[in-house]
């Protein structure tokens, strides 16, 4: 049996499989099935960490997920992972762990001087101290505090690819949280009724309390076997329900076993999103500490933890344990250790008498009734305890090497509280419980204060029966789930703290003492939430599970009110700290958001395109790998001088059909569409109801009752929703159907003076002369043999066509266009060149359609229809939207053509340099004119055309003389598009 403290067989350990691990550089051996905590205890290691503030030596306190002290850094392929709970970390061969928050070593910690300074470091010390001299907080104190912050150290791994992660969606009739006796009984009953059950438990095994009491072992095994036979019950081991989110939704974290981890390619945890019609919260009642001086010395731990280490791992946490408890349940640890041959040092119990005390006496154990522990001898390990009478006065000194404490059990009410359940104070157990509304589910077993294994099982069964009936299932009363009867027990006596000199902790991780709580009260922080914030009580990784209520009780005492009046802290998710990786799931890094790819993505890639991420889309920016403007201008010049082709398939395309289609478009657009002839297209401007511009695009009338609306790439989703929303509300009486056809159509712009020649070589069935197919013509056409559509529209300002074909034919049509254009000098152009061309032409995009501009601001005020209702009509007429000093669209150019423009440059008058008159929205070196051209929004800008302003970009240390010009830098007469 590896480890000197291993005294027997554990239920979870495999005595035939030793496992080697390393702690603080020491090679140690334990057994398969051990946790790091049980492995350290088996090896006689008591000291496992240092506390947060005072750097006091700390040991293992619990045997489960509520552990406040035994936190370690684990070093492995995932880097250095801080704050791992030794009490739940299942040991694996070769595990490397290090204690944390100590320097230079665990046994000699330089910062332990904080403990001696603690008279000057009470709770809330930040707010009142560290203030003088004035500069010192930021330059001296704060850096010092920050360096001392935190417990563990996070070091990222040196791997390139993120570890696998996944989120699984689950559905059940009933979620049973907790696989202790109540949960087991409930799951069994529900499964027997044919209900779909998820049984989630944070432990690696079924049973919880049943594991700990010998008389329940057989029952547990029967139950486990029965559950395995029920096809609708699924047990999720090592799964913590993190939070209850309402509407039957729960989040849970499943930690994978080594076998499952291997199968899922190294997956360590998975997040489960569980949806259930009802929930049974059988979450148990963790044991709580008692605040007495020295209750943090390594070797002081919860009594139930000692029982757990013995039963689960065969480890005796000491050779001479003392027991300091106020309830009969906690004596089980003593009886079990005694039964395993460990001789207890004695029992200290504040109650005058109890049944368990009698039994201890009958075993020959020294019992101090009506007594408390006044102090603990030893610093890095318990050496003895000093026993005092309840009313004061020294009674005895016990030689002991560990002290098992229990201040009672505090039902886990977090999930119930998150579901809105009010908390009720239960005098008998000195704790709060909560009940759920029947439509939500119920709380069962110790979680609602029902102690005793048989009683809890009956309670779980009753809860399950009620839910099964509620869900319309017949309940078979023949199923028996009875356990051996619970032994009689004497009720607990409330005991929260022992008043005696020395630090008595209520929050072991955050180093909050009873004195801190009283200080907070004296300073005026008497609300529980204020005390928590002032002292940080309950805010550590264990969320106050062992001492939260104890701290509240100390505050209650200071205030002179019952604990029930002080209340409880609002328990927020998560029930257990969750790694970012597990919450994030698999859609991270490259897959953080879906990538929308063009139908010709592969072609663009092969052609050497640099892609830009535009929302979800990947779009060719320029067909060159090199940066700089030259390749962009070469593409743009091809369009200006000959012909170019660009992929505009990202534009939103919405099919609008129905008898009222024209009427509908008249309402959603600020300009008129009912007058548009079939076979024609028109530029349209959509406003929001507040009168500002929402989106623009070209809409074509394909048939009397059939339109195709195009939207900007970035607004395609929003415009579709906007149309659908209005069709189902304000326009409900209209007979119109709108359908997204964005992905169906690949669309290419062929632009440039020679574009007609290109089209003439591939388009059949449509004469392309200027007369037959003039500017803004639209219609069906056959392109390279593919049935598609042709539009004579232009964003570049050149003679241009847009070709639309079903995306599966994109490559053949695109290739045919390029082949046809080759003799004419066609070249593909990307988004950058497109942008250059449209800026030269004075066309707007998102930089100008920025949600704060009106149609008039953009120079399109005359487009608004004179009569008839449309979205945004009324509020567009507000005074503020008509003011003459509004920012209006203009063109800008540097006076010195060798200077560049920069987007975001502010424009000011030379005489008032701190007053912004506007800013540059878009800019580019021109393909047509010498130097740079840009667009800007300038206060009263149209009236300033011809003026000079200063362009200032202080973040680039640039100042440029700017000339305000018309936004139409190229072809102001608009003759090319009509050529």
């Amino acid at each position: 049996m590896p480890g000197p403290a291993r005294i027997g067989r554990g239920l979870l350990t495999d005595g035939d499989r030793p496992v080697g691990f390393r702690f603080d550089g020491r090679e140690l051996t334990a057994l398969a099935g051990d946790t790091l905590a049980s492995a350290l205890l088996a090896n006689g290691r008591r000291l496992v960490g240092r506390s947060f503030k005072y750097h006091r030596p700390r040991g293992v306190v619990t045997a489960g997920p509520g552990e406040p002290c035994a936190l370690v850094d684990v070093i492995g392929s995932a880097g250095r992972e801080p704050n791992q709970l030794a009490t739940t970390l299942v040991l694996r061969e070769g595990l490397v762990a290090e204690s944390q928050n100590r320097w230079p070593s665990l046994s000699v910690d330089a910062l332990a001087i904080n403990d001696l300074l603690s008279r000057f470091l009470p709770a809330g010390f930040y707010y009142k101290t560290f203030m003088s001299p004035g500069w010192a907080w930021e330059r001296l104190y704060e850096p010092l505090i920050r360096r001392a912050a935190g417990l563990g150290r996070l070091v990222a791994p040196a791997v390139e690819h993120p570890a696998p992660a996944e989120t699984v969606h689950d559905h059940a009739d009933v979620l049973v949280v907790g696989a202790g006796v109540a949960g087991l009984a409930a799951a069994h009953r529900l499964g027997a009724c044919g209900l779909k059950v998820l049984l989630a438990d944070q432990d690696v095994t079924l049973g919880a309390g049943a594991l700990l009491e010998a008389r329940a072992i057989a029952w547990r095994e029967q139950m486990a076997a029965a559950l395995a036979r029920l096809p609708t019950v699924r047990w999720l081991p090592s799964t913590t329900v993190l939070g209850a989110y309402g509407h039957g939704v729960f989040g849970a974290l499943e930690t994978l076993s080594p076998e499952a981890e291997a199968r899922f390619g190294g997956l360590r945890e998975r997040l489960r999103v569980i949806r259930a019609k009802r929930v049974i919260l059988a979450t148990g009642a963790p044991e709580r500490l008692i605040a007495f001086p020295g209750n943090d010395v390594p070797g002081v731990m919860l009594a139930g933890a000692a029982l757990g280490y013995l039963r689960r791992y065969g480890v005796a946490v000491g050779t001479r344990p003392a027991l300091f408890v106020n309830n009969d349940e906690a004596y089980e640890a003593l009886f079990a250790l005694h039964g395993a041959g460990v001789r207890p040092a004695g029992v200290i119990d504040p109650r005058p008498q109890s049944l368990a005390m009698e039994r201890a006496r009958s075993l020959g154990v020294e019992v101090h009734a009506g007594a408390v522990v006044a102090s603990v001898a030893g610093r890095r390990a318990v050496r003895g305890v000093s026993v005092a009478n309840v009313g004061g006065g020294h009674r005895a000194t016990l030689r002991a090497d560990c002290l098992l404490m229990s201040g009672g059990h505090t039902p886990s009410t977090a999930l119930a509280a998150q579901l809105g359940a009010p908390l009720k104070w239960q005098e008998a157990i000195a704790a709060f419980t909560a009940d759920l509304a029947p439509a939500v589910g119920s709380v069962a077993g110790a979680a609602r204060g029902v102690f005793g294994l048989a009683a809890a099982a009956r309670d779980g069964d009753a809860a399950a029966r009620a839910i099964a009936t509620d869900l319309g299932r017949a309940v078979n009363s023949a199923i028996a789930i009875d356990l051996p009867a619970d032994p009689a027990a004497t009720p607990l006596a409330e005991l929260w703290e022992v008043s005696a000199p020395g630090k008595a902790f209520v929050d072991l991780q955050n180093d909050v003492t009873t004195a801190d709580v009283r200080l907070a009260y004296r300073e005026g922080y008497e609300h529980l939430d204020h005390m928590k914030r002032y002292t940080t009580h309950g805010m550590a990784t264990d969320q106050g599970r062992t001492g939260g209520l104890t701290g509240a009780a100390v505050l209650a005492k200071a205030r002179g009110v019952p604990v029930s009046r002080v209340g409880a802290l609002k328990p927020r998710p998560f029930a257990q700290p969750v790694p970012f990786a597990a919450l994030a799931g698999g859609e991270v890094g490259e897959h953080f958001k879906p990538k929308r790819r063009l139908p010709l993505h592969d072609w663009h890639e092969a052609a050497g395109a640099t892609f830009v991420r535009a929302g979800l889309w990947l779009r060719p920016l320029v067909y060159s790998g090199s940066s700089g403007w030259e390749p962009v201008l070469a593409e743009a010049r091809a369009v200006r001088s000959a012909v170019g082709i660009t992929d505009v398939s990202t534009l939103g395309k919405i099919d609008v059909q129905g008898p009222d289609a024209a009427k509908f478009l008249d309402f959603v657009y600020a300009n008129t569409f009912s007058t548009l002839a079939v076979g024609r297209a028109r530029y349209g401007l959509m406003l929001r109801e507040d009168g500002l511009v929402f989106d623009d695009g070209t809409t074509a009338r394909l048939a009397p009752e059939h339109f195709l609306v195009t939207t900007t790439t970035v607004n395609s989703v929003a415009v579709l929703e906007h149309l659908e929303f209005h069709l189902q509300t304000v326009c409900r009486e209209l007979d119109v159907l709108v359908t997204d056809v964005g992905d169906h159509w690949a669309q290419f712009a062929v632009a440039g003076p020679r574009s007609r020649e290109v089209l003439e070589r591939v388009v059949t069935g449509v004469p392309l002369s200027n007369e037959a197919f003039p500017f803004m013509a639209a219609g069906a056409a056959t392109i390279a043999g593919v049935a598609g559509r042709l539009f004579r529209i232009s964003f570049s300002g050149e003679l241009a066509y847009e070709v639309a074909v079903p995306a599966r034919h994109a490559l053949e049509v695109w290739s045919a266009l390029i082949a046809a254009g080759k003799p004419l000098g066609i070249r593909p152009y990307g988004l950058d060149a497109l942008n250059t061309l449209r800026i030269e032409k004075g066309h707007v995009t998102g930089a100008e359609l920025n949600g704060n501009t009106t149609a008039d601001d953009l120079g399109m005020g005359r487009m608004l229809k004179a009569s008839g209702d449309h979205i945004g009509r009324s509020l567009a007429r507000r005074a503020g939207l008509l003011a003459p000093d509004r920012l209006q669209l203009v063109g800008v150019r540097p006076v010195d053509a060798t200077r560049r423009l920069r987007n975001g440059t502010q424009l000011v008058a030379a005489s008032a340099r701190s007053t912004s008159l506007g800013y540059v929205t878009s800019s580019t070196p021109s393909a047509e004119l010498p130097g740079w051209v840009g667009l800007a929004l300038v206060a009263g800008g149209r009236a300033r055309i011809g003026e000079r302003l200063l362009g200032v970009s202080p973040v680039h240390a640039e100042t440029t003389d700017i000339e305000v010009v018309s936004p139409h830098h190229a072809d102001a007469g608009n003759t090319r598009v009509r050529a």
Partner: protein, 383 residues
């Protein structure tokens, strides 16, 4: 006079009324305990990087007040000007940030453009080339940072109390009394209080309180979630924002990473978090900083935000004489506490807007002079 709401703005308003205007006949009534609303549950950032010149001036005024706060309050609110770094991942974002930074600099406010190398040097955890949305650079406001939020409420409460203001806890306002178009006082769970002036500073509950006086506001109440991780040794020395998911994060002095993101997207008074948001923000965090993958998230919570229709706050008189509103803070109320207090106190004391808050009146909506930083229009859940 009565100030409803013992949060940051209510307490600051009371403090400045007493200390700057000598008005001490003030009662702050709070339905629970002071400082437990949004001031006690936010992510504590301070900054003055805005687009609108009027907003820059207002928030810069606030930032300057923060810089001198511990002196004036004799209480260390742990103001930490570690810098606010806005990352950009598209050129469009870069242009917007540049425009904003230049506007700030015109007004004498600090702002700097950082290249990729400088970003990486400042935040070594960042994966600049994260595959989906590579970081192209950042804009830094060096004087931005964090403040210890609880200390703000406590400091102002102490200051106001010492100056003679009454702070009444566990006192919920159940009605606002009027005589014609004039406010006459409030009814509370602890009795009626007569007052010539009633100031509402109740954040997410602004609509509810205003409706007691028959006033409907351009406000919807939405939840904003926040998260904190376990404490670790320092890994992040700046307040960081990253566009996708509106992710923002900083590391507290105690060692926990405090972070959050966008609104849930529908109105609610429930101060709680949701799972989809927890997943989304974690994915964003791991995408931006893969080294955080094994860091553990401790808690999630929510605060209810008084979202206006243009995303900017309201420091304003209302249609009811004597009823003053300090609200509509959206999720930016914390950083504005000192300026909100000063300008609201000014409005109460002088009956006219403080010059720095003149653009924050209720009349701007009907007049078409909204202050819409992001240009998203009257859809508060998208601000």
């Amino acid at each position: 006079m009565v100030i409803v709401g013992g949060g940051g703005h209510g307490l600051a308003t009371a403090y400045y009324l007493a200390t700057r205007h000598g008005i001490t006949d003030v009662a702050v009534v709070e339905k629970g305990a002071i400082g437990l609303g949004n001031v006690g549950r936010n992510t504590t950032f301070i900054r003055s990087n805005y687009f609108h010149p009027d907003n820059i001036r207002f928030y810069e005024f606030s930032l300057q007040l923060w810089e001198n706060l511990e002196r004036s309050l004799n209480f260390n609110a742990m103001v930490s000007q570690r810098g606010t770094l806005n990352l950009f991942h598209t050129e469009a974002q870069r242009d917007l940030f540049a425009r904003r930074a230049n506007q700030m600099r015109l007004l004498g406010v600090d702002a700097e453009a950082l290249g990729r190398d400088a970003v990486k040097a400042l935040v070594p955890l960042i994966d600049l080339d994260n595959g989906r949305y590579p970081v192209l650079g950042g804009f830094l406001q060096p004087r931005g940072g964090t403040v210890r939020h609880d200390a703000v409420a406590w400091g102002y409460a102490r200051g106001a109390s010492e100056a003679g203001v009454d702070i009444i806890e566990d006192c919920e306002v159940t009605g606002i009394t009027r005589s014609g178009a004039r406010v006459t006082g409030v009814e509370t769970t602890r009795g009626s209080i007569g007052a010539e002036t009633v100031c509402l500073a109740v954040a997410g509950h602004s609509s509810r309180l205003a409706s007691m006086a028959g006033v409907t506001l351009p406000i919807e109440t939405h939840v904003l979630q926040a998260f904190v991780t376990e404490a670790v040794k320092p890994v992040l020395d700046v307040v960081l924002t990253y566009g996708p998911s509106h992710f923002y994060v900083s590391q507290s002095d105690k060692g926990g990473l405090v972070y959050g993101g966008a609104l849930d997207g529908y109105n609610t008074y429930g101060q709680r978090g949701t799972l989809p948001m927890a997943e989304e923000l974690a994915a964003c965090a791991v995408t931006l900083m893969p080294g955080l993958a094994r860091l553990k998230v401790l808690r999630q919570w929510g605060g209810v935000m008084d979202m206006t229709m243009d995303g900017s706050p309201l420091i304003t008189q209302t249609p009811v004489d004597g009823l003053i509103l300090n609200g509509g803070w959206c999720y930016g109320g914390f950083k504005a506490i000192p300026a909100g207090g000063v300008t609201t106190a000014h409005l109460i004391a002088h009956g006219s807007s403080h010059p720095l808050a003149a653009h924050l009146g209720l009349g701007r909506f009907a007049a078409g002079r909204t202050v819409d930083e992001r240009g998203v229009g009257p859809f508060p859940w998208t601000h």
